[in-house]
Symmetry: C2
Subunit: 205 residues, 2 copies
């Protein structure tokens, strides 16, 4: 195997690891080379621990068959937790979103991870995400509320719109996250859309 790095006169093991690091998002050739030369100087066990953690990731992580969040055991710890409200589903795009919501400790229900959003221009349609699995789940389980927590951007909104249209006929309550000024935000710098949402959603004190 030869690659661009090897052509620069790098020895094969170094060139190969640089190539692999460069395939990761946000890591360019300079960062890749810094990481490789850092690991060359570091104790052997560090490179090996990283190698094992990588192999372990793909070997031991699976998806919960109910909510499609990442998990080690199936069903996942949240789906099998009886103190969580199993009748309220928070729908998110990615597993990282579950983490963000869990950190708030403000949601006592369960989740459904779509693994993407509807974005026809990128070739992402309803059948490319866990869309129908959610509809099936709402149909077969006793669900009181579906909270649509997709990202507040164009694709996230479109995904929510399609989900709402598919879920409404099932008679389930569908909610979405509140819009408004972020905590610590500055009115002067708020974009018109955020400020508009904050005005629309004003509450009486």
């Amino acid at each position: 195997m030869t690659n661009g790095f090897e052509q620069q006169g790098l020895i094969e093991p170094v060139a190969r690891l640089m190539e692999e690091f460069s395939r990761l998002p946000g890591i360019g050739p300079k960062t890749a080379s810094r990481l490789v030369f850092f690991l060359l100087r570091a104790p052997d066990e560090q490179a090996h621990a990283l190698a094992e953690a990588l192999a372990n990731l793909k070997d031991n992580v699976r998806y919960c068959s109910r909510c499609f969040n990442i998990t080690v055991s199936d069903p996942c710890l949240i789906c099998s937790n009886e103190s969580r409200d199993q009748a309220r589903i928070c729908v998110v795009e990615e597993p990282l979103d579950v983490l963000a919501i869990e950190r708030t400790s403000a949601w006592r229900g369960v989740y459904h991870v779509l693994h993407g959003r509807i974005a026809p221009l990128e070739g992402m349609n309803r059948e490319d995400i866990r869309f129908d699995e959610l509809v099936d789940r709402v149909r077969s389980e006793q669900i009181d509320e579906v909270l649509l927590a997709t990202n507040p951007n164009l694709e996230g909104e479109a995904t929510s719109f399609h989900l709402h249209r598919a879920l409404a006929p099932l008679g389930v309550k569908v909610t979405r996250l509140a819009r408004g000024l972020p905590t610590g935000g500055d009115l002067e710098w708020a974009d018109p859309s955020t400020l508009g949402s904050a005005l629309d959603g004003r509450r009486e004190l």
Copy 2:
């Protein structure tokens, strides 16, 4: 094993890989999490290829017993290349410096990699780098020139100073890289030390 990431509610394989990524320079918790979730979505073979490249790095990279550059075979390709001038040694701090000089195609001699520089405040002394190995090499081989190409900063200068003092009694010609304005640089923005070097080293046209 538990770590800070696992305490945040992350499953063990994810927490463990985030922890390992975070130990690399320039990679904080946010980047580590982005990398892990990228790899979760990527094909299995990508994480495994990276794991193998890591293991391969430490198992197959050694140091040339003559110049201490990284190599797969010993002596390295440069030390065993008969078309290189084996009587001229360019002394650098790190293997990456060799690559930088090789890219210029302006050096036809060989190298000596110190693996560090003298920096007493950081606990780096003459015996912590390949300093005496260079002196021994100059003493035992037929060497015409030693080019000191340490970094143009305080520690690099100090290292050069000590090397020069150790090599001078052996009667070998000791040179250093030219100082001056960098190509594409701007006189207006040059620091006084660089501009001073450029004035001192002025050449007749």
